[in-house]
Symmetry: D3
Subunit: 256 residues, 6 copies
Amino acid sequence: MYLADETWPDLGSYFAEESLALVPLGSTEQHGPHLPEGTDHLIAEGFAREVADRTGYLCTPTINIGVSPHHKQFHGTMWVDAPVFRDYVESFTRNLAYHGIDRVIFVNAHGGNVDHLREVGRRLRDEEVLYAIEWMWNDSIPDLVDDSFENNGPHGGPKETAMIQHLHPELVHDDELESARDGGVPSVEAANTEKFGSRTFYDAADNTDNGVLGDQTDATAEKGEEMFEAASEQLVKLCEWLDDQPFEDLTPKDHV
Amino acid sequence: MYLADETWPDLGSYFAEESLALVPLGSTEQHGPHLPEGTDHLIAEGFAREVADRTGYLCTPTINIGVSPHHKQFHGTMWVDAPVFRDYVESFTRNLAYHGIDRVIFVNAHGGNVDHLREVGRRLRDEEVLYAIEWMWNDSIPDLVDDSFENNGPHGGPKETAMIQHLHPELVHDDELESARDGGVPSVEAANTEKFGSRTFYDAADNTDNGVLGDQTDATAEKGEEMFEAASEQLVKLCEWLDDQPFEDLTPKDHV
Amino acid sequence: MYLADETWPDLGSYFAEESLALVPLGSTEQHGPHLPEGTDHLIAEGFAREVADRTGYLCTPTINIGVSPHHKQFHGTMWVDAPVFRDYVESFTRNLAYHGIDRVIFVNAHGGNVDHLREVGRRLRDEEVLYAIEWMWNDSIPDLVDDSFENNGPHGGPKETAMIQHLHPELVHDDELESARDGGVPSVEAANTEKFGSRTFYDAADNTDNGVLGDQTDATAEKGEEMFEAASEQLVKLCEWLDDQPFEDLTPKDHV
Amino acid sequence: MYLADETWPDLGSYFAEESLALVPLGSTEQHGPHLPEGTDHLIAEGFAREVADRTGYLCTPTINIGVSPHHKQFHGTMWVDAPVFRDYVESFTRNLAYHGIDRVIFVNAHGGNVDHLREVGRRLRDEEVLYAIEWMWNDSIPDLVDDSFENNGPHGGPKETAMIQHLHPELVHDDELESARDGGVPSVEAANTEKFGSRTFYDAADNTDNGVLGDQTDATAEKGEEMFEAASEQLVKLCEWLDDQPFEDLTPKDHV
Amino acid sequence: MYLADETWPDLGSYFAEESLALVPLGSTEQHGPHLPEGTDHLIAEGFAREVADRTGYLCTPTINIGVSPHHKQFHGTMWVDAPVFRDYVESFTRNLAYHGIDRVIFVNAHGGNVDHLREVGRRLRDEEVLYAIEWMWNDSIPDLVDDSFENNGPHGGPKETAMIQHLHPELVHDDELESARDGGVPSVEAANTEKFGSRTFYDAADNTDNGVLGDQTDATAEKGEEMFEAASEQLVKLCEWLDDQPFEDLTPKDHV
Amino acid sequence: MYLADETWPDLGSYFAEESLALVPLGSTEQHGPHLPEGTDHLIAEGFAREVADRTGYLCTPTINIGVSPHHKQFHGTMWVDAPVFRDYVESFTRNLAYHGIDRVIFVNAHGGNVDHLREVGRRLRDEEVLYAIEWMWNDSIPDLVDDSFENNGPHGGPKETAMIQHLHPELVHDDELESARDGGVPSVEAANTEKFGSRTFYDAADNTDNGVLGDQTDATAEKGEEMFEAASEQLVKLCEWLDDQPFEDLTPKDHV
């Protein structure tokens, strides 16, 4: 059920029965010469809507702009500063509780949002407003991702390329896959910016000239579809698990 | 040109020539028993994308959630608190300047966002970061709107109904138009909540039981189309006017 | 009853019986070559004290500095940034509740404060701290204002000139009324800064060279007195209406 | 010269020649059974206006509400929280620099504001916006104050009583002076709330039942007048000294 | 009992019986050519640990960096801005309440922290989170300090020199005591920066070339020891007094 | 060179030659029944002081309290909320630049601080104030850590136990190592709180009853010493590498 398409009386019927919401979040940022800047929010939206359709749970509109200052050197990257992102997500999530939502899954497809979503989740849980957790598709199927690619990326690599080839093939510049690979670096390690245990880079531009990592020619729409199916299934299970928990099991444990 | 669909090299070509961006903003909030909660962001997105297509100017992704606490009593209304909304819009708009954008049109379709967008615009202009102005479609064609309906609403009334009938007819519950009218109030005045010069209401629920105003049965897709064409034309002209201004004419005047 | 002139035991007698307070707010900003910069706070104070005298309700000291960045190009304009103004008003208003005040009228005479006072009022109402509403004198007598002047201004126009001629005639430079008119613009419309539905101006200086609008020579102290009487009467009625409401009718409605 | 009474062209003449402003600040808080709650802001306004008249320097409107949570237990005390007060004062003072003001005297008459005004002054000086210092009348004439009273108070004591007897005799309840003395405490020391080097009290109510200290019957309007004259003279000299300093001598010293 | 050296089960035993904590706070800032920059936090730690040992009450780790912008011109001075310091202290102190602490003594040895610790203490008391008070050793033994030195300083003077000679003799540059005296000023008064009742200085560098005041050659370890004993005894008594109070006597008094 | 032990003239000599500082940061939080709550800050201080001694670079005082809300259920855990921690670290680090520091290593020993230190580092780098990076000892010697223990923990496990056995053997309760192991869990995985790709736990108490993970009986002081030596060597190299970089290579790259 997609919240934005529904009227308030129809949503009232949902809230009368259910208290779970899926919130897709991504980013709008450079993804190399071959992928659209919307890659992350398109993937997040793809999963959240699919799983909402399969399960009947509520999906909210997508948060399209996230924490992406590390991609700012590349044209068109949009971002909000981290404290602002946290407050924005906290504000609308907190307000969902007004309608009876007490558990939320942040369906996230941008690594740069993870810590911030966890921080927001903590605030809301510690105040016992509601229980929110972050989910990223690739974390749910690590073996399949590892088996599918030699160098998965991560940013703008074959993993994300395959996913967009599956979800929005018209947005992939297939003729740029080789140049994406050749102009970037194979992996963060290859960029050699971790020194004596310290990450010395802050921006993607510190590691790669074209903004991406991995071997994009290794991507296919079929791999994308396989990963989409597998991860969607995981998200379905997460929804079911979460829905099954008594709310008191989701709140902070008592002091010892 | 839709930013999220483009790669960074393609966007680089845009920024090499142009410095204007259209940013659609709306809300996700109750719009009565007949319209989807996404009404406002769908309308904003409709105008911004259309005019970007016609003119070639850049359109960013849509901000789907706005300042809607005044609709909170109705199921599913999402909102962020006003200071958070301002900071979020300020942050990503400010960051657009990093790529060379120096003029922005907030293509807005939610009345509750107006003051906040103006406040953000002031901050950015006073610091001479960039020049941003707010535009709402109905303000650009007041006579046509007045002529089209006896009681245009505003919220969830025939004006917005006609627009969604035109843009997303599948999302309008045509069988609820009469009940929308009968369960609501004709106008804010009819609600009698302005007392001796003071607006005493804060929430839509203070004025109307079903959240909407006006006579929804007065709406048709044809009226929607006519308004959409007329207002799009106005927005095209605003883009052209804005693009024509030397940047120094857009910055604050000097002290007398 | 004027709070600042009273002792705490005398105020205790008031709070034992009453729970309403009038808070005058204005600005200190340019009002053209003929009016003092204190125009707005003088008017607000004038109404609040008069109505407190007539009704016996409590009037607090005046907030003299408001949100006036749009007049900054003119010598002497004082202002606080909008978020700071909101927090300041929220803080002292919230603290009034400690003494038992549960309803407040912001007697405001500066247009630039309106949205901010409404935003503060919402915060306090949503938290059920107290109920505060904004009142501006000219909104309470729109017909009389329209009938009194051809072009009322608004800023520094004959409407405000007449009011100061009535309340503080010694502060009006009568010999500057013609130059005020001739050096300004008749109305916002005449400034032609609304383009295709968008307000493109941010500052008074974008519209007018001397900071004011309308025909100041149309003002007389008699018109001022008539408006003062009529609007004071409206404010008296607002006090009475507000005092009559059970507090529970002033709090937010329940979720549908 | 009183800013609020002047037009912007007249203020332009001032700024063309001068760069100093006097800003009166006080509080609205209980001052016992005999003095009005406005005592502190009335005194601050009294000094600032008087010295502006004598010297020709500019005086702004008065800030009537300050940091007075320590008087909240007594009816009618108004206050803003300390961070809000600092931001409010910082905001309008900072904005004065826009007109050319580069040195400000906070003419303060409320002890609870001192630290906050110093903190604001530091911010503005460290950023080299302008140089602002705090002045309190009794600090400028400590010997005269000591000689005038056996127990000067401080809060609501004979020192402040005498000053209001001089400035606003109609606001002093002379028939309550004895009860003020008998219902309060002679001094902070007498309240015995400093324990082993630590101030253990936070509120006036922790020290005194009626909110005041000292022997109010020791006050006379003559003593008030004498102190007013003496302290005004000090403030005149401070203005002259401050005006004489080259601005670079008022900015922070360089790193050693 | 020193919190950082204990395990959580051992601390559980403490919290089962007691609800008082000592929190040492100081600064890291220049103290002239003869004293280490850690002087203030070393003194605070010295007292807090000693008294914790004598009484058995809990001592937390030391806050080493405080509000010292007024020493910034001298190499190595570290500081946090005042609002940040307040929020930091408030945050960890507030969180102590989670374990049952309801009374805290801020064992402070930096004058620049005093007002901020009082402001934090007020916030926590007004919300009835816990009761915290500030204590500085020299305020507890004013007569002994006065009797021990002709010119005690304050900053970097013989008072602090003697204390470090006692606590950490290896950190005192005894061969710099004369130059410390000769390169500084005898007292704030001697610097002549109070003008007509107003403190016109903001930084130590405004008063003294080497950062210190007083006659350092007047210091001896024996004086330091005597003061340490005497003030420790006062702090022991403060702990005992505080522990004896019923919590309801430590909360704000009711409205009159 | 330890900043707090030095005088300002001696620090002036350092800043004349060098621009690098080591800042130790840890936490004060439960570490099971066998380790002191100061474990993390003791380790951070141990490394930072050691490497400062070896290299001659400057070491600041230790930040003892960090972001540890996830340990709050266990007695004595102290913490500051995440936004407050970031602001505190940002403030004093930013101020170090005033003395000429342009590169900082956050010598951190608490996993819960990592993201926040990176966020602070970004702010300071993006504004080109200075360049700061985070370093954690175990990240610099991953192979040695892996080889030393079967289950290293992480929190309160044999890795940290061995380190405290080496640095502060008197603070380890050796008689509690078995109970630490038996009352905890072997690893995060073993706690089974990652569900379908989502981390569903927020607190240590969600995973373990006694707050710790791993097999503590596997720890020895010798292993601690070996790791301390190896990681210190890495930190020395990081200092040298960092000192060698031209500052312009440490600032953000230009827009492509």
